[in-house]
């Protein structure tokens, strides 16, 4: 067991939470991520593994919100799989074992920062931030969008007041600042 202590994307030892009258913004540090891209000619096999893992294959603009693994569509024959890092820190290795040579698996845990925006003002906040039609999105909808010039994914969770935002980890501070600013502007 190694003895290096991880830090959160915002640089803290624990995830940060910002509370506003209408929303709560939480840094979610507990997500392991890995991308899955189907190998050419092995798409059916890859879909089979995805279905077994998630229950179904998420289509464009879609996520499957299933515990412990969830996944969303990222591009043609490409998905992102997420799972709790506490139990599945080696998610990419686990997926490689499952998918075999039907898919290319890439660890992405360190590439992203995850924020959970929850509250009745969630949509109002997001309308100041991105062009994705968050108000119209349903639970399980996942969209690639741009927030403050940063390529992000937004995923509507089952709680209608809950949106999950994945953004580039190196710009976690910028993304957090944009979210907090929008939250203050709409409070």
């Amino acid at each position: 067991m190694h003895d290096l202590i991880p830090s959160t994307a915002l640089g803290g030892s624990t995830p940060r939470t910002d509370t506003f009258p209408h929303v709560t913004l939480s840094e979610n540090d507990g997500l392991a991520l890995a991308s899955v891209a189907a190998r050419l000619g092995r798409e059916a096999d890859c879909h089979g593994h995805l279905s077994a893992l998630l229950g179904r294959v998420p289509g464009p603009g879609q996520a499957v919100l299933r515990d412990p693994e969830a996944g969303f569509w990222m591009g043609p024959e490409q998905w992102m799989i997420g799972a709790p890092s506490a139990s599945q820190e080696l998610l990419a290795e686990d997926l490689k074992a499952r998918f075999g040579d039907s898919a290319s698996i890439t660890e992405q845990s360190g590439g992203w920062v995850c924020f959970d925006l929850i509250g009745p003002g969630m949509v109002d906040v997001m309308e100041r931030l991105c062009a994705a039609p968050v108000r119209r999105m349903q639970a399980g909808d996942a969209q690639r969008t741009v927030i403050h010039q940063l390529g992000c994914f937004v995923i509507r969770r089952e709680d209608p007041n809950h949106l999950r935002i994945l953004g580039p980890r190196a710009s976690a501070g910028t993304l957090h600042h944009a979210l907090v600013t929008a939250a203050r502007a709409t409070a």
Partner: protein, 979 residues
């Protein structure tokens, strides 16, 4: 001062809410619901500004956003905003405004002398006058013109307010909340559609708020208020007052500016002043109404002379009389409506002057058949001079004069995608053409339906059509449905100083001059005279100008046509376009995993793209950056150094064809690269020019990690995706960026292995892990990691990567474990020095013009395979024996400097572009060699080692004798990195 021109009752103002405000230092009062213009008029203030060119006294012309005259400087200090239309400023308590464009007071503007010089200051004056002597232009003419020109003044302080951007989606966007817009919203809202109803006014209702007629058994304003209340109760309808839709863009996207805080003294904390909304809509109804137009006659610009409809608005909506004695000059029935309304409020109608022989008669006021030919009154209207059809003249005493020249449908938004309006002779106006922005329908006055009943029913039909609804729609109240009776009449014959465009001081005479001098196209007319420019964009003036040009040119009005309508519809603050992207938030920051640690050590950062990279790490006592950088270089070459190289692009390449794919994108071979090995690769563009370099590490048969330079991480990834998707779609290869997923550190120097041996769990001896090896490893007792034995510095060196979350911990561990070897963090400056000492090319050398041969890598372009750029890299004329080659440069005098960008010339002879033999790309001081060194390109350079040549930089005054040497200043045999 009391509000002497305020009616005792009526209007849509809150009389309980008294607002104090000042204009030009004088205190007044008004009410909530007033505009600054209505409040000033209520206080008897007609003079509100000075005109642009002649500094003529001006008051309001309109009661809306089309206002050309009453421009003021609103607020003070950093919030001072010039050119703000008094007619759109919502009155708030303690509002502070002042007039602008004057020298002295508003009443005694010294620059009014320009009016006396008007014979010289006609259209084209600048073009004709300031041609000679040429030397005067820059030193005399331009400073004077710049001092005199412009409207209002800027505070030159940073805007203290913030602006937001936002994004909305809807089924139906309705632009304008007048009768047609409200009827459309009611129809669509009740049908359950997602509706956005936007109106630039702070009170929705449009002309319904300005008119006196009834809708059914309610007043128009009350019906509007009741309808707005119902719409507000519908969850699927979003009402956006104070929101101006400024443009119709591609794909159903509209821009809209919401003035969130402009009606407040200052925005609430954290709240924006304005929001620039991008509205995505499936369908749009343009219900933007119409704008009344004036009539041109001599001195028709005096304060008190305004549009007749504006007089109605001030009277009916704001309960304000522009004056107690009013005359009307009209060519249509609408002028008579104004007279009726004002008379009902107790205002004396001096007369209605109608150009039509069949003008309606009235028992309540005098109707005269004729024209207003001139006016009097230095700072405000006092008399109107008439010439009647029977040949007689008459003088009317009046303090206000309403002009009613007909109505122009607001077609602007229909033309934002190059549509052209069409001429409607019945209305004597342009109406929307057939080529509308996709999904747009036009309704109400904007379509030319100028009656209230027509607007209401048109709004319903438009909504039904847009949303494909059937049925009757909402029950509409009975409303006026008067026909349009108009006789086109643009200007009074024989006038000389009749103002067409009061904002730009353009007269009928200027249009005539433009015609005489050949500027007859409507676009030329605009540029020559400035007709229709500036804040109002000619909303009240363009039509008159082109009608008069048509007459002079002997053409019809539609033959002359209109100028192009462009967004924004009304003036928009630049801050709204910038949004939150200003100052530190202008662009996002990318922080390396060691950023916090580097900050603790006082690192000086440099922007590399969006990344902030440590440039150097100053220690106490070091007074210059060179001291720090020299120390970092010497320490690294002497023992060990560590540098964050996370910013280098990393692309994960997987698939059974991964190796073949790399063979295509790199000019050198990769197919036979063994697993566990890394190779330097050079990427060419299609045209054979070098694009980027980096390494590719083979972690498995079907798995590579490609690194790119920091600057080219995105372009290279984009290029690779293009190659994958478009050039070789049959290859089984998958790409994904992992740049941010791994924290990566270069550990360099003769003791680097010893440092890493304390961290890495596996054997990394030279035998087990030789030069260019790579592997998945573990560190610190089991954390997954990657190790690459590659070197940019030329030293024994490694790059070690861990998942980014552990990046901070790893850099601290490296420093701790390296302490016994005096490990030194180094920044990008030291990195640059070491790579120049080693002769490695970087962005300065891969500058978009250099070939592999220029870089001394010509033999890397494999002839055994096909790769992108390989064929064109050998095209005729590209590579010659004497073309540029990368070389090293050192000064003959060791104390001399060698600036990057300098050019290389013969030792003697002229310094000119014709004599240029090459140039310096990268330069630094080498602390190891004790003098400046440089890399550069020199003609036939590889054959000129030892030659002395002259380095010149005429811009910086440098002229130095240098020696051409190998680019490998340090360890040319590579013994160190293989140690």
């Amino acid at each position: 001062m009391t509000q002497k021109n305020r009616f005792e009752t009526g209007g849509q103002i809150d009389r309980e809410s008294l607002h104090k405000f000042t204009f030009d230092g004088k205190s007044y009062t008004g009410h909530a619901g007033d505009t600054l213009a209505s409040a000033l008029l209520a206080n008897g203030v007609r003079l509100m500004g000075r005109s642009f060119k002649y500094h003529r006294p001006r008051g309001v012309l309109t009661a809306g956003s089309e206002e050309p005259n009453a421009l003021v400087e609103l607020r003070g200090g950093a919030r001072q905003e010039p050119n703000t239309r008094a007619t759109t400023i919502e009155l708030y308590d303690r509002l502070f405004a002042k007039s602008q464009n004057r020298l002295g007071s508003l009443k005694f503007d010294l620059l009014a002398i320009n009016d006396r010089l008007s014979n010289f200051l006609t259209a084209g004056f600048y073009y004709k006058t300031f041609m000679w002597p040429a030397a005067f232009w820059e030193k005399l003419y331009e400073p004077i013109i710049r001092h005199a020109a412009g409207l209002g003044s800027l505070s030159l302080k940073e805007d203290p307010d913030v602006y937001d951007k936002g994004f909305l989606h809807c089924d139906l966007l309705i632009i304008g909340a007048g009768p047609s817009g409200l009827a459309a919203a009611l129809t669509a809202g009740r049908a359950g559609a997602d509706v956005i109803l936007a109106d630039e006014d702070f009170r929705m209702g449009g002309r319904l708020n300005s008119e006196s007629y009834a809708l059914g058994d309610m007043s128009g304003a009350d019906w509007a208020a009741a309808t707005v209340a119902e719409l507000a109760s519908l969850p699927n309808v979003r009402l956006m007052a104070r929101t101006t839709v400024i443009g119709a863009f591609d794909h159903g996207i509209y821009g809209a500016v919401e003035r969130v805080s402009d009606h407040l003294r200052e925005p609430q904390p954290d709240k924006p002043r304005q929001i620039l909304w991008r509205i995505y809509t499936k369908r749009t109804i343009l219900a933007a109404g119409a704008t009344e137009r004036p009539i041109a006659f001599d001195n028709n610009d005096r304060p008190g002379i305004m549009l007749a409809s504006a007089l109605r608005t001030y009277a009916n909506r704001f309960a304000v009389a522009a004056d107690k004695r009013v005359a009307i000059f009209t060519n249509n029935d609408d002028g008579h409506r104004t007279a009726t309304d004002l008379q009902a409020q107790g205002i004396k109608i001096a007369a209605v002057v109608d150009v039509r022989a069949d003008a309606p008669r009235s028992a309540d006021y005098e109707v005269l058949h004729g024209e207003v030919v001139d006016t009097k009154g230095r700072l405000g209207l006092t008399f109107a001079e008439l010439k009647l059809t029977d040949g007689s003249s008459r003088t009317l005493e009046c303090g206000a004069l309403g002009m009613s020249g007909g109505w122009n449908p607001n077609v602007h938004m229909t033309c934002h995608q190059r549509g052209r309006p069409t001429w409607n002779a019945d209305l004597a106006a342009f109406v929307p053409g057939e080529a509308l922005p996709a999904g747009m329908t036009v309704a109400g006055a904007a379509l030319g339906d100028l009656s209230t009943a027509g607007a209401l029913s048109g709004g319903v039909k438009a909504a039904q059509s847009a949303l494909d609804l059937s049925g009757q729609g909402p029950d509409l109240p009975q409303a006026e449905d008067a026909p349009i009776n108009i006789k086109p009449f643009w200007y009074v014959e024989g006038c000389s100083r009749a103002w067409l465009d009061p904002q730009n001081d353009v007269t009928v005479k200027d249009v005539k001059l433009s015609h005489q001098e050949g500027f007859r196209s409507v676009e030329h007319l605009k540029r020559y005279t400035t007709l229709g420019m500036a804040t109002d964009q000619g909303k009240t003036s363009n039509m008159g100008g082109l009608a008069i040009m048509a007459e002079f040119a002997g053409k019809t009005i539609p033959e002359v046509g209109t100028t192009i309508f462009r967004p924004p519809y009304t003036p928009t603050a630049i801050g709204a376009f910038g949004g939150r992207h200003r100052g530190q938030e202008f662009h996002p920051k990318r922080l390396t995993p060691s950023h916090a640690w580097a900050e603790e050590r006082g690192a000086v950062f440099v922007e590399a793209g969006n990344w902030l990279r440590a440039q150097w790490f100053p220690l106490p006592g070091e007074t210059t950056w060179r001291e720090s950088v020299d120390r970092e270089v010497l320490a690294t070459r002497g023992s060990a150094g560590v540098c964050d190289v996370t910013t280098l692009g990393k692309v994960d390449v997987q698939g059974t064809d991964a190796a073949e794919f790399l063979n295509k994108i790199y000019c050198n071979g990769f197919a036979k690269l063994a697993v566990g090995k890394t190779r330097y690769g050079l990427m060419l563009r299609e045209d054979g020019i070098a694009m980027d370099d980096g390494t590719a590490a083979r972690l498995a048969d079907d798995h590579f990690v490609v690194t790119t330079t920091t600057a080219n991480a995105l372009p290279v990834y984009r290029h690779m995706e293009f190659v994958r998707q478009c050039l070789f779609p049959d290859m089984d290869v998958q790409l994904i960026s992992t740049t941010e997923a791994w924290a990566q550190y270069a550990v360099a120097g003769p003791n680097s292995r010893k440092v890493l041996e304390k961290i890495v769990d596996q054997d990394i001896s030279d035998e087990a892990f030789p030069f260019m090896a790579c592997a998945n490893i573990t560190v610190c007792g089991g954390l997954r990691a990657r190790l690459f034995r590659i070197s940019f510095s030329g030293e024994l060196a490694y790059e070690i990567a861990v998942p980014t979350a552990y990046g901070d911990a790893l850099i601290r561990r490296i420093m701790d474990e390296g302490a016994e070897f005096d490990i030194t963090p180094y920044g990008t400056e030291a990195l640059g020095v070491m790579r120049i000492e080693k002769g490695h090319a970087a962005g300065n050398e891969l500058n978009g013009t250099t070939t592999a041969q220029n870089l001394g890598m010509g033999r890397m372009v494999s002839k055994k395979k096909d790769s992108i750029g390989s064929v064109l890299s050998e095209r005729e004329g590209l590579n010659t024996d004497t073309d540029l080659r990368q070389i090293g440069i050192k000064p003959v005098d060791p104390s001399a400097s060698v600036p990057a960008g300098a050019h290389l010339m013969k030792l003697t002879g002229p310094i000119s572009a014709a004599e240029d033999q090459g140039y310096v790309t990268s330069a630094c001081y080498s602390p190891n060699l004790g003098h400046a060194i440089a890399l550069g390109f020199l003609q036939n350079g590889s054959e000129r080692m030892g030659e002395r040549i002259r380095l010149v930089s005429p811009l910086t005054g440098v002229e130095t004798e240098v020696e051409i040497v190998s680019a490998h200043f340090i360890d040319p045999e590579g013994d160190r990195l293989r140690a």
